[in-house]
């Protein structure tokens, strides 16, 4: 395919905040799993049911024939997840050591690192939002009507792995990035804050919106899963669209476009 000119696509503030988020989300997820391990179930409602059942996910360990088995229950379905969930490395723990920070069980340490990076994430998001509003980057993320009309075609192109290397983002890219930045991350922050008894006093209405602290906790976890899904697709797209060019653009800002001919 004929090469087009190099264009300056990502400004410094866009690149720096991108990498700070990448690092922060890595720590937030793995310390989050450490925190989850202290109470490895997800509930719907204001409180966690002990005398009644309002759990939609439960990870536990049971002893059968002198052997520990990991059991994961999703709604009414039970799965043997020995080795990964419930029991791993010979001990009873919901998520395995390899997926938690720190690797050993330490709720206190998990919390301290989690809240540190939560502040880093919130701070860099605020910085990014202000800078992007001023430098016009925000507008590049919002799909236009023309973009939306081109959506079916962009979906077909992506499905055929035919990527268009332009200076602007494609409509699917815009939708993906915008839903992470304007939906998933704000949802993560607000659902996290709704688990804070202090913040509940400041904004009881937010607790109502989420439908109670335990529902907020469940939403916090599910949003993490959604972000993980974004990450997987994000990585796949980079590999498929040309990893060197993509990495160059998020490291240096410069992106190689290609000549496009109408077909």
């Amino acid at each position: 395919m004929p090469q087009g000119p190099l264009v300056y696509r990502q400004r410094l503030v866009t690149r720096v905040t991108h990498w700070v988020w990448a690092v922060s989300l890595f720590f937030l997820m793995l310390t989050g799993l450490q925190i989850f391990n202290a109470f490895p179930s997800l509930h719907i409602g204001k409180e966690a049911g002990f005398d009644y059942d309002n759990a939609i996910l439960e990870i536990g360990a049971v002893e059968a024939d002198g052997e520990l088995r990991g059991v994961t229950r999703v709604f009414e379905a039970e799965f043997d997840t020995t080795g990964v969930l419930g029991v791993s490395g010979g001990e009873a723990r919901a998520f395995p050591a390899a997926l938690t920070i720190p690797s050993k069980t330490s709720l206190a340490t998990g919390r301290v690192i989690h809240f540190f990076f939560a502040w880093v994430l919130v701070g860099t998001l605020a910085l990014w939002l202000v800078a992007s509003a001023l430098n016009g980057h925000l507008r590049q993320l919002v799909p236009t009507w023309a973009d939306l009309r081109a959506l079916p075609r962009d979906i077909v192109d992506h499905a055929r792995l035919r990527f268009h290397h332009r200076g602007e983002y494609s409509v699917l890219q815009k939708l993906a990035y915008a839903s992470v930045l304007f939906v998933a991350l704000p949802l993560m922050i607000l659902s996290g804050l709704s688990m804070s008894p202090g913040f509940n006093a400041a904004a009881p209405w937010l607790l109502e919106v989420f439908g109670g602290r335990q529902t907020a906790r469940t939403i916090h976890f599910l949003t993490m899963v959604a972000l993980l899904g974004f990450f997987a697709v994000h990585m796949a797209m980079i590999l498929l669209a040309g990893p060197l060019n993509e990495m160059r653009s998020i490291l240096t800002g410069w992106y190689r476009t290609e000549e496009e001919r109408d077909v």
Binding site: K46, E47, F50, A98, T100, P102, P197, F199
Partner: protein, 254 residues
């Protein structure tokens, strides 16, 4: 016996375990830990600015769907406490001492005779669970005013009957502290009743603290002495609470 499956899983875990690099953060005096823990003062300042004097959410009777799950110590076994519990806490006295002009020694009858506050609130454990219950007690502010805190007093320290830890070096009795902002908050009460009945032993009988805008570990159970101080340095390892001395936040609003 050689368990191949376990061996393989162990190997896989080890290979994946890049996270061990951060295990040094579990040590209280590491530079990494200090950096991460710096969030606490920011969190406290931000929450205080946002919350002010606002109240924690309160719930309705219909929200009480189960008993209050006890945590930490559930049955102190000290001889003094056992004897007192068997006698229905008739001999119990709450001591208010330290930086006060009028030290107090109050019986349960005297405490229950004071104007009380009843609140249905959600108890949030640091582990992640929550439980809603109705608490009745005397506002801590009422008791502190009776004791007339000196102007130098900054913290209320709670000393408890329960030995939370036993080691060769002796017993560690639970201790906790809050500052006077939380101590005089209207929802901060010394509870003697729960869900319409006298406070059960498992939940901290005869008297436990409720600090509704913070996590469960701040709400000391089995309280026998409230000490007003101007510093937390000489308490435990100097962080102000049993759990704060073990890496948890002293300000537990999150």
């Amino acid at each position: 016996m050689f368990d191949r499956r376990k061996f393989l899983l162990g190997g896989a875990a080890l290979a994946l375990s890049g996270c061990k690099v951060f295990d040094s953060a579990t040590e209280g005096d590491s530079a990494l830990r200090k950096l991460f823990a710096s969030h606490e003062s920011l969190t406290q300042a931000a929450q205080r600015a946002l919350i002010g004097e606002k109240l924690a959410p309160e719930f309705s009777e219909a929200d009480i769907r189960q008993g209050q799950r006890p945590n930490g110590s559930v049955n102190p076994d000290g001889a003094d406490y056992r004897r007192m519990a068997e006698a229905g806490f008739r001999d119990y006295r709450l001591t208010v001492a330290g930086l006060v002009d009028a030290p107090q020694s109050l019986s349960l009858a005297e405490l229950t005779a004071l104007p009380s506050r009843t609140q249905i609130t959600r108890h949030d454990c640091v582990e992640g669970w929550s439980c809603i219950a109705k608490w009745q007690g005397v506002p801590l502010g009422t008791v502190l005013k009776m004791a007339q805190p000196k102007v130098t007093a900054r913290y209320a320290v709670f000393h408890c009957f329960d030995a939370i830890e036993r080691s060769l070096s002796g017993e560690v009795f639970y201790y906790e502290s809050i500052d006077l902002i939380d101590a005089f908050h209207p929802q901060t009460i010394l509870a003697y009743a729960m869900n319409g009945a006298p406070l059960p032993v498992a939940n901290g009988a005869p008297l436990r603290l409720r600090v509704e805008r913070q996590l469960g570990y701040k709400m000391a159970k089995y309280v026998h002495t409230i000490e007003l101080t101007d510093s937390l340095a000489s308490l435990g390892f100097g962080k102000g609470s049993y759990w704060a001395d073990r890496g948890y936040e002293w300000y537990a609003g999150i």
